[in-house]
Subunit: 306 residues, 2 copies
């Protein structure tokens, strides 16, 4: 299973009871964070998942509300005893931006590896120490900005009955399970002989800040959860959203629908929108499984056959 | 009158309900802030004094918990319509540190003037746009770090009766009130002829992070309010405080007593100290007007003759 928590749901500036938008994914005890604005570590304290096992932080872009919490979080991770390398991923200029912010965190207890993504689609970057695979899609926000897809894989089920029927010594089973073929006493044995059909892993997608992009529905296709900005709920703010290169609820819901997502969490609300639920009906009319997310909303994704 | 609010009272890391230590002073509608950690702007939102009229931010030093909130606060000030120059004051390297942090706030609507203080005592720096005078005293924290004294002045009272007795035309009274001498029809008139004795202004002192310093009681002498770190309350933490170059409550209270302060607010509590009131008795036994301050504790200082 995989735990997902939207650590904050605000845009532009942190507010009392509305931290800046940031998503935390936990799988097999390891964590991946997307975006880290001012106060993210405070909301994480309330969440209670700890800091030490964050192995990767992905940045959509470098507006302050998406990265200003980085030095504080890294210092808290350092004080939590982390020593393993941390991976940072983001658009071009990550090294310059991080070097600027880290002037106030010069002595961390762990090394940092930076992965600066050129502005083009990326697929299946395996994150060290974890079983997360990260893909990224360029967005439309007036500066380099990425949507992220976080996926976990799952091996096919080993069919014990079929394996026993092969009369192949048990010491070779592991190889078959790992997807390797085996030659024993002149006969060939292939993984397909003992493995069931591929099993679905998890796919969680995160998209902010941007105008709607034609490639988004394909990128998020069949996601278990699609976390998407809804800077404005009111359809009358459509022109404002366009002007500031953001989206309204209806834009996010249409992408969720077109991409066949299972569920949509709206987030990155304008500070001028005190009640994000007020216009939720607009999204629901387009995509029924829309939710006006709130700080630390949490979901545990379960394997289909669990 | 002068309003004082301790925006946060935490040390090291921001916690839910305990923002990082930061002091806001308001006098005649203009504001001065000392230190700005992650989340300071959120606590200021709860305080409700606005952002636009902050004319000066003083930094004690550049550990992250004292400056990590700077880029976010400046962006919020910019979004609040501020256009006047902002003064930043701090120990050496202010320009380098601020330049690093401001990589994520490259387009502010107002200019910034930086005043880098050499590590020595400073007195009576007048802050533009305001009536604040700032003095600074080097501390002992293993790196350049200053205590600050924020003062306001008050002119002597104009004695109407004595002025009328002079038979000096009213058009000259303003000059006398401003402290200038006047020569009229061969006679000399001096300010002393119409002004009462000097009147006391306000003095608020702020001291964190440091070991006790011999010059501190003199620096804070007769302060209306002394805001001082009490990283640890428990006297058994005295050795720990020494090791980390911090103070215990008893150290702060002794400085308040020796400097004849009117009141002491303890702050900058260790995250490991959930109940700062627990050891308040230790401070009170040394200095009776000790208070275990909490976030957004506020006091209005009133002129003695108001």
């Amino acid at each position: 299973m995989m735990d997902i928590s939207l650590v904050g749901t605000g845009g532009m500036m942190p507010l009392p009871n509305r931290y800046l938008t940031s998503l935390l994914c936990r799988y097999n005890g390891r964590m991946l964070l997307i975006d880290c604005g001012e106060g993210t570590q405070v909301s994480m304290k309330l969440l209670g998942w700890g800091y030490k096992n964050i192995d990767c932080i992905c940045f959509t872009h470098y507006h302050a509300d998406h990265i200003s919490g980085l030095p504080g979080l890294l210092l808290t991770m350092s004080n939590s005893g982390r020593e393993e390398e941390l991976t940072l991923i983001g658009p071009p200029e990550l090294a310059r931006i991080a070097a600027g912010l880290l002037v106030i965190a010069p002595e961390l207890a762990f090394p940092i590896k930076m992965v600066e993504l050129p502005v083009k689609p990326h697929a299946d970057l395996r994150i060290p120490l974890t079983e997360f695979y990260v893909s990224a899609l360029p967005l439309d926000h007036g500066r380099p900005c990425f949507a992220y897809s976080i996926e976990t894989r799952r091996g096919a089920k080993f069919d014990l009955e079929r394996a026993e029927g092969l009369n192949l010594p048990k010491k070779f089973w592991g190889a078959l399970q790992r997807g390797e073929s085996v030659c024993h006493e002149g006969a060939d044995y292939t993984p397909e002989m003992v493995l069931g059909p591929p099993r679905k892993g998890f796919k969680v997608c995160y998209c902010t800040d941007t105008r709607p992009v034609r490639t988004l529905p394909g990128f998020i296709e069949n996601a278990d959860l699609f976390v998407c900005e809804g800077m404005y709920g009111d359809p009358e703010k459509t022109a404002t959203a366009r002007e500031h290169m953001h989206m309204v609820y209806a834009d996010a819901a249409a992408i969720a629908r077109d991409g066949n997502a299972r569920a949509l969490w709206l987030t990155h609300y304008s500070p001028a929108m005190p009640n994000p639920k007020e216009h939720l009906y607009v999204a629901r009319n387009i995509f029924r499984e829309s939710c006006a997310a709130y700080d630390r909303i949490t979901r545990t994704l379960i394997f289909e056959d669990e």
